[in-house]
Subunit: 245 residues, 2 copies
């Protein structure tokens, strides 16, 4: 028996998110089915991030146990043959039998992309959020810096979250523009439900001039969801990577 | 009566190319239908580039004549309301009544994107060509420079082309890598049928080491399609812009 870790990339457009659901197509469901068919035994993956409907990933993580003899490194090739083209394993390797992908000491990086042009650009529509209102990227980046460090992010968490604690640490965050595309990139110890999308929605409000960068500390302190900006749409969000020490 | 020029962006994934066809959905057909409905008169656009099935555009050009009173600049907004989200007008303006979008003195820029990673990345799959064979970008760029200037590009033209002359001028061409994405960007006086895709396919052969950069001049001189590399797949190609003096 060995435990195998998969690095999973997907286009979230056509999935009801990561997590297994009885009556909807999810990334976890498709992975379980493909792995079970590949090894001829029932396999259930444990995922790192339960991304929402429409959210994309370059490097989500899943682990599973198998008694199959196939070398762990070869599983990526074999599994990709059985997956639809909007899911692709980027790497597979053996890990310790007690390795859990939602370890507290992992670092997660997300990117939220905003296309800021007069009209939407069709080839970018599935992987970015569009807004024609000109955004002040410098002010957005100034505001973003207030999120750095350990904070109670209750104001940036959807009301229906079941998290034990709303304290999280953000190690790094930046807002950069390349051409007409603005990218909010954030690395942290972990993220609450919808946290990155609410941070992005709040930074967009700052970029539009509806909020001031200097208001961010008081929004954090309020610990009240209604003080922050709206939840930005799912299609703009990509889970970039998980790093384990 | 006025002549209006549209700058048209589209995701070519779901279209049988630009050109009107009786039994297939094309960008030209969808534009004609939306414009005719908008103005309540039959409108037929003249397109600049008849892009192939699956090819994308950031700035293809179409012109049409109308007696409608709507200011030309407002047409982009009104038309976008009636178009599917994979076609978006980027600009509309009035031009001279004899303006033709396939003028000889225009400069066209295309970009061909190649994702060069071990495994495909799902969120890039619709807008780039994937190859896992490591490509030598420096050699590709070296080879590309031989295309600059006025040449007979018969070796880089699909056999079924009906062009009068196969002489074209390439003003600028470069091959650059950003992350795992290689972009071949080429600006010219005009391009023969499949010319950019055959240039891209040939540069990929150079990048793989199957051809030498120094072979390009003899491939051009041969004036024979079979001497060049294969036609690279349509999804990697984007018509970036048309410029008129």
């Amino acid at each position: 028996m060995k435990r195998v870790m998969l690095t999973v990339a997907y286009d979230g457009t056509n999935y009801h998110g990561w997590q297994l659901q009885p009556n909807a197509v999810t990334v976890e469901g498709v992975l379980n089915k493909a792995l079970s068919a590949l090894f001829g035994e029932e396999i259930k993956v444990i995922g790192a991030s339960r991304t929402d409907t429409g959210v994309h990933a370059l490097g989500n993580i899943a682990v599973f146990d198998t008694s199959a003899k196939m070398p762990a490194e070869k599983i990526s090739y074999a599994l990709n043959q059985r997956l639809p083209e909007d899911i692709r394993i980027q790497a597979s390797k053996e890990v310790a039998s007690d390795f859990h992908p939602r370890r507290q000491d992992s670092r997660k990086t997300y990117e939220y992309k905003i296309l800021n042009t007069e009209f939407p650009i069709p080839t970018y529509r599935l992987y970015s959020h569009f807004t024609y209102v000109p955004l002040d990227v410098e002010k957005m980046n100034e505001a973003a810096q207030y999120f750095k460090g350990e904070h109670d992010f209750k104001s940036f968490c959807s009301a229906d979250s079941a998290a034990d604690t709303t304290v999280r640490t953000i190690y790094d965050i930046s807002v950069k523009k390349s051409g007409d595309m603005i990218a909010v990139r954030v690395t942290g110890s972990g993220f609450l439900y919808n946290m990155v999308r609410i941070i992005a929605g709040t930074l967009i409000e700052v970029g539009r001039g509806n909020m001031q960068a200097s208001q961010i500390p008081e929004i954090i302190e309020a610990r009240e969801r209604s003080k922050a900006g709206p939840t930005a749409p799912a299609c703009g969000l990509t889970l970039v990577s998980y790093e384990y020490p």
